[in-house]
């Protein structure tokens, strides 16, 4: 039973307090959407989780341990997907996937072509990313969560640039991950369609 817990967290940027005393927790199967207008601190919250922004007050813990004390374990259990796709435009879809798979720890045996097919890029294995459209690049980046064997997913606006079908694929993936006992925290401005799976909300700002 894994537990992700945010306790009394504060975020200060540009001398403004974005949020304060933020507390919530997420257990196995938990699905959490971070809401809030532009600039309310959604991305900042996610970046605090992965250590890209220093935590000034409060804490974030993973399985009862402050994430600053178990950085390595937490990184192993977590997959992050941010505003940028984190893929190389000079490599092909397949080459990118190999690298992402390696970085995520090769835990599961995966069939790259099958995943590309699942995400709607069938047959584009050997196309350079520099020759793909915005949505196609984003999809290649998202194959990361298909290959991940981690428990917790942190997704920052995963539906950006995706078309309706792409959005549905990711929604289904998220729900099935949660159903299998995973946890997902994501920020988006769009409405999720998840067929009644219990969705928590945190509203910032």
């Amino acid at each position: 039973m894994a537990l992700f817990k945010v306790n009394n967290l504060q975020c200060v940027r540009r001398d403004n307090i974005l949020f304060q005393g933020l507390s919530f927790k997420l257990e196995d199967g938990g699905l959490l959407q971070i809401d809030g207008v532009n600039g309310s601190g959604k991305s900042s919250l996610l970046q605090m989780c992965i250590g890209l922004i220093q935590i000034t007050e409060g804490n974030i813990s993973w399985n009862q341990t402050d994430i600053r004390d178990c950085r390595y374990q937490f990184q192993t259990d977590m997959t992050y997907f941010g505003h940028t796709n984190g893929v190389k435009t000079g490599l092909t879809a397949l080459e990118n996937m190999k690298v992402m798979h390696a970085l995520s720890g090769f835990k599961s045996e995966v069939d790259y072509s099958l995943i590309l097919k699942q995400i709607g890029l069938a047959g584009m294995d050997d196309v350079l990313l520099s020759r793909m459209s915005a949505g196609q690049k984003r999809r290649v980046g998202l194959t990361r969560i298909f290959m991940a064997s981690s428990k917790l997913w942190l997704l920052d606006e995963p539906f950006n640039a995706l078309d309706k079908n792409g959005k549905k694929i990711i929604e289904q993936l998220i729900v099935s991950h949660c159903k299998a006992g995973g946890m997902v925290i994501f920020a988006t401005h769009q409405t999720m369609e998840i067929d009644g799976y219990p969705l928590q909300h945190i509203h910032l700002g």
């Binding site: 890209l52 977590m78 941010g82 984190g86 190389k88 435009t89 000079g90 690298v99 992402m100 390696a102």
Partner: protein
């Protein structure tokens, strides 16, 4: 452990693929080197004995400048497309991945540089002792240049202006330059160069062990 080696080679292969795909990028550093070497005689006039005296110094300074120029590419695109975050958040020590990237840089840049420097020395008919010293100092120093360079690149990445990089890096390169030039001068004068070579080898060992850790730390600092 086995897994670590695998990761090392995957990152190495990734960086090499990125460069080899664009063949121009592979040849350019060398061309830059050659062109700059040509610039000097133009600037110093064509006094043959004078030029001969300066050749090994020119080769060394140019190698240094070319390295500075080439360094930025180590992390820049990774920073821009968000790959660096993914490297940091991976399950493996960042040091490992940094080592792979630096190795890639040295293979792409340092190795050919040594080759072309020796070739240039040959064309400009340096004496065989000088050539020998040039070759050994470059062999020992180019990895150091890549390793130390990576630290400063990690610190300055994303800050505007490639100049900040050169500013930080050139002072760090001075010791290497000084000892290498001493070795070359001694060799030209027919003296032993073993002291300098040992010293350079010492720096290399030091850089090999410490630089990747430092670079990894610098990257983390830069991104938080």
């Amino acid at each position: 452990m086995n897994e670590y080696i695998k990761i090392f080679f995957i990152i190495l292969q990734r960086d090499l693929t990125l460069v080899f795909r664009n063949k121009a990028e592979f040849i350019n550093p060398l061309m830059f080197f050659v062109i700059v070497i040509i610039l000097f005689p133009l600037a110093f006039g064509s006094d043959a004995t004078l030029l001969k005296q300066l050749t090994s110094g020119i080769i060394w300074v140019t190698a240094l400048l070319a390295t500075v120029l080439s360094l930025e590419t180590i992390f820049r695109t990774d920073f821009e497309d968000g790959s660096i975050e993914q490297l940091i958040l991976a399950r493996y020590p960042l040091t490992l991945m940094v080592s792979a990237k630096v190795t890639a840089h040295w293979i792409i840049f340092g190795l050919p540089l040594i080759f072309i420097a020796v070739l240039t020395g040959f064309i400009l008919s340096l004496s065989s002792q000088t050539m020998f010293a040039l070759f050994f100092t470059l062999l020992l120093s180019t990895p150091v240049l890549s390793l130390i360079g990576a630290i400063t690149v990690a610190l300055t990445i994303g800050l505007r202006g490639g100049m900040l990089l050169s500013l930080l890096i050139l002072p760090l390169y001075m010791p290497v330059l000084i000892f290498s030039m001493l070795a070359v001068q001694n060799a030209t004068a027919g003296q032993s160069i073993s002291a300098e070579i040992y010293f350079l080898a010492g720096i290399l060992v030091l850089a090999l062990t410490l630089a990747p850790i430092t670079t990894a730390a610098a990257l983390r600092i830069r991104l938080s």
